[in-house]
């Protein structure tokens, strides 16, 4: 294969620029292979975070030709445009060095979410769940915390509205809210647009779904159902009354 010109962002928290490297790529390579080649052959101090090279650890998130992607899951022949590929760190998070960004903010969001509050176990001390009750939340457990969805979400990326928890944490909240054993309610937290998760900031433009390497239907299966639950709780007196009368929801309202 012909050489491919890699235009890689080099820099740190205060400044940076794109630097070009010509890489003799081999068939079957992914972008991460080329970055490793540059690191091994040309620039030993090129910083890049990675672990599994199998799309499972969520470490190698970057922006390839301006699109948030995993470097280890992006084949070179699919990315080359006019003989070049640009690689830069995620734009939403502060750069540390080269392709490495500081994603610590995400873990502070995670701490805002109350964990699973399971109902008491059955008489034999265990819990039983039907397959059709848990199928729906399995999808959310595929998340590898690559934070590409957080990176692409315009609420964080452009508007820098940090009161919004971001799509990854809507996925996590959905996995708890829809859990058949959970007794907690996170609807007040979701609705709180100052110190909660600010679900209303999302305008369902679906970029998170477009970039998720695990193919999680973030908007359709996590965010919109949560929005509907918030509507049912706060904006729909009819549904609220019916739900109470028929005892459909057994969650405490916080």
């Amino acid at each position: 294969m012909a050489d491919v010109r890699f235009r890689v962002w080099r820099g740190n928290a205060s400044s940076g620029a794109f630097v070009d490297y010509d890489v003799p790529v081999t068939e079957g390579w992914v972008v991460l292979d080329a970055i490793h080649w540059i690191q091994a052959q040309l620039q030993n101090d090129l910083a890049v975070r990675w672990n599994c090279k199998a799309g499972k650890c969520g470490s190698c998130s970057a922006e390839i030709n301006g699109k948030p992607r995993l470097m280890c899951m992006s084949r070179i022949e699919d990315c080359v445009i006019d003989g070049t590929i640009t690689v830069q760190p995620m734009a939403t998070f502060p750069p540390v060095k080269d392709l490495v960004t500081d994603v610590a903010w995400n873990y502070t969001v995670n701490q805002r979410i109350p964990p699973l509050a399971p109902k008491p176990p059955e008489a034999d001390g265990t819990w039983r769940m039907q397959p059709y009750d848990v199928d729906r939340v399995q999808e959310f457990r595929k998340c590898i915390e690559c934070f590409l969805c957080q990176d692409v979400c315009h609420v964080l990326r452009d508007h820098q509205t940090w009161a919004f928890g971001g799509p990854r944490f809507m996925v996590r909240t959905a996995s708890l809210e829809m859990h058949p054993l959970d007794t907690g309610s996170r609807l007040a937290l979701l609705r709180d647009a100052r110190d909660g998760l600010g679900l209303g900031y999302c305008n369902i433009t679906k970029c998170c779904t477009e970039v998720c390497p695990e193919g999680i239907h973030i908007t359709d299966n996590a965010i919109i159902p949560l929005k509907e639950r918030v509507v049912g709780e706060y904006f729909d007196p009819l549904a609220r009354g019916l739900t109470r009368i028929l005892g459909w929801t057994r969650e405490p309202r916080t």
Binding site: G66, D102, V152, H154, G200, F235, D236
Partner: protein, 276 residues
Amino acid sequence: MKATPIFLPHAPKPLGTTQRRDRWWLEPLLNFIGFTAFVAYSLWVAFTPVGSHGLNYEWPQRSTLGWTYLSPFYSPLFGPTWWHFSPAILVLWMPLGFRATCYYYRKMYYRTYFADPPACAVSDTRFWQGKPRPYRGETAFPWILQNAHRWFLYLAIYVLVVLWIDALQSIFFVAPTGQPGLHFGLGSAVLLVNVALLSAYTFGCHALRHLAGGNVDCWSCSWLGRTRHKFWAAVSRLNEHHMAWAWTSMIFVGLSDLYIRLLAMNAVPFSRFPWL
């Protein structure tokens, strides 16, 4: 825990700034052309109920044969005597409100008409003319009103029932003489396809998906849980292609009206299936 940013804001990025190298503007452009054309056609239809040849939205007149093709833009047909404008205005707000608050259309017009964002990883309107604007999303007026979507769903289901009746009365009808009759024309087929597409769109609604069973955490522990799970799964199947149903049903509504309008204007021949 307080939601505080841990790093400094980035430099201002004007609308449309991106490192993307593909044709990201193509999708919003096609949406803009398609949707604007539909809105323009709808406005024209709504404000031209009659032409020099008579009614534009109904053909033939029901009173003469007992059956008619009624344009979906004018159904359900209300005609109170005090109303002097187009009857379409009395009904169009229902499907309009339904589509305007639909989760798919929201995505489409926030992107296409509000550039918020125009496409993924392309800067939105935060730095309009260099100054950052506050962002409230759907947490505040006006977009918080989107939460009314499920009320429009109830209205849309009512309209849908009437459209089914419209399609069926063009096939099974009662003549002015009191005789039951059967007729099947191209118009009946058009109306049937139209209402089928609209049903696929309406029954794939996210709000319905929630009400049908999505609001239950543990189906096996709830009253009618199995049934609600099945209902939820059925809505989910349609919901997966909600965008496709939204576009096809919208385009077909326009085509249905166009066919009836052309019949009324005598611009196309009346075709009925010979065996009926």
